[in-house]
Symmetry: C2
Subunit: 164 residues, 2 copies
């Protein structure tokens, strides 16, 4: 098996969209920045989100049972920073940006590329992380035309003029 | 719940690295193109790959019990096409490109951005797909400096000059 540093150096080369994952409900409002999100199946519409079990917000996501995947647009680096900033508490993070409730009550970031509003259907523990399998209850597509991707430890702005 | 078309239109905006997933072993050699790959945990080093259960190669991956995630570089659009082309059989796909065995025997694409050579640790069925949880036995980092990302139904070349 490889060591942690080799794992991290390799994973830095797997580019991924930058997302803010939010929840709200009886446990309160929380959010964090994540790239480990992917599509699973369209029957029924399902995605997955990986979350560190040591994160202070982890159990609150489980209690609320809902989450919204907010896919950041190319100008949303500041949103990514705020929701990854351990010096900001939950209310400070949310107060800096604008959100709307869609179906589940999880906060949907306005001007995201797309919001996937979900119920958590199943949780699967794997090492230090939980994989949340989420059923998509609502989707809202924004008007932005550029995405934000994290690759090689840098943010990249993706737009159609960068087509390979 | 949302419909299939809304799911697909939303997911088209979740940019992701383009990968070719390969296997070899008693069931033979197979490979397919996938974006639904993500990091899970570094304790122990684990990633996941989502695969359609209706794919002809699905059961062969399970039988072999190993797979390699080959993260394509920015000039690998042709590799992506070949491994997504239903008109090419397995041997035709592999004969067009160069591969090396690392630890498990799953073919590692030469000049990939990075190869993650894995054993399949666990399979989790979800709707039409199987999620393979894979333990990373070996990693090889290539010399390419650009990645290939699929976003908004187009390929994009990511390099450090495209930093946001």
């Amino acid at each position: 098996m490889i060591d942690t540093q080799a794992f991290r150096n390799g994973m830095a080369l797997l580019g991924g969209a930058v997302n803010v994952i939010t929840t709200d409900g009886e446990a309160g409002r929380f959010g964090f920045t994540a790239t480990a999100v992917c599509s699973v199946t369209d029957e029924p519409p399902t995605l997955l989100v990986c979350m560190n079990r040591n994160s202070y917000a982890h159990d609150h996501f489980k209690t609320n049972g809902v989450l919204c995947v907010n896919v950041l647009n190319g100008d949303h680096q500041n949103v990514s920073w705020d929701f990854a900033n351990r010096d900001l508490n939950s209310e400070e993070r949310f107060s800096r940006h604008s959100f709307t409730n869609l179906t589940t009550g999880a906060p949907a970031l306005d001007e995201a590329l797309v919001n996937f509003d979900c119920t958590i259907h199943e949780s699967h523990e794997m090492g230090s992380h939980t994989v949340f399998y989420c059923r998509i209850q609502d989707v809202r597509i924004g008007s932005a035309d550029a995405g934000l991707v994290y690759f090689n430890r840098n943010y990249h702005r993706l737009c159609d003029s960068s087509v390979a």
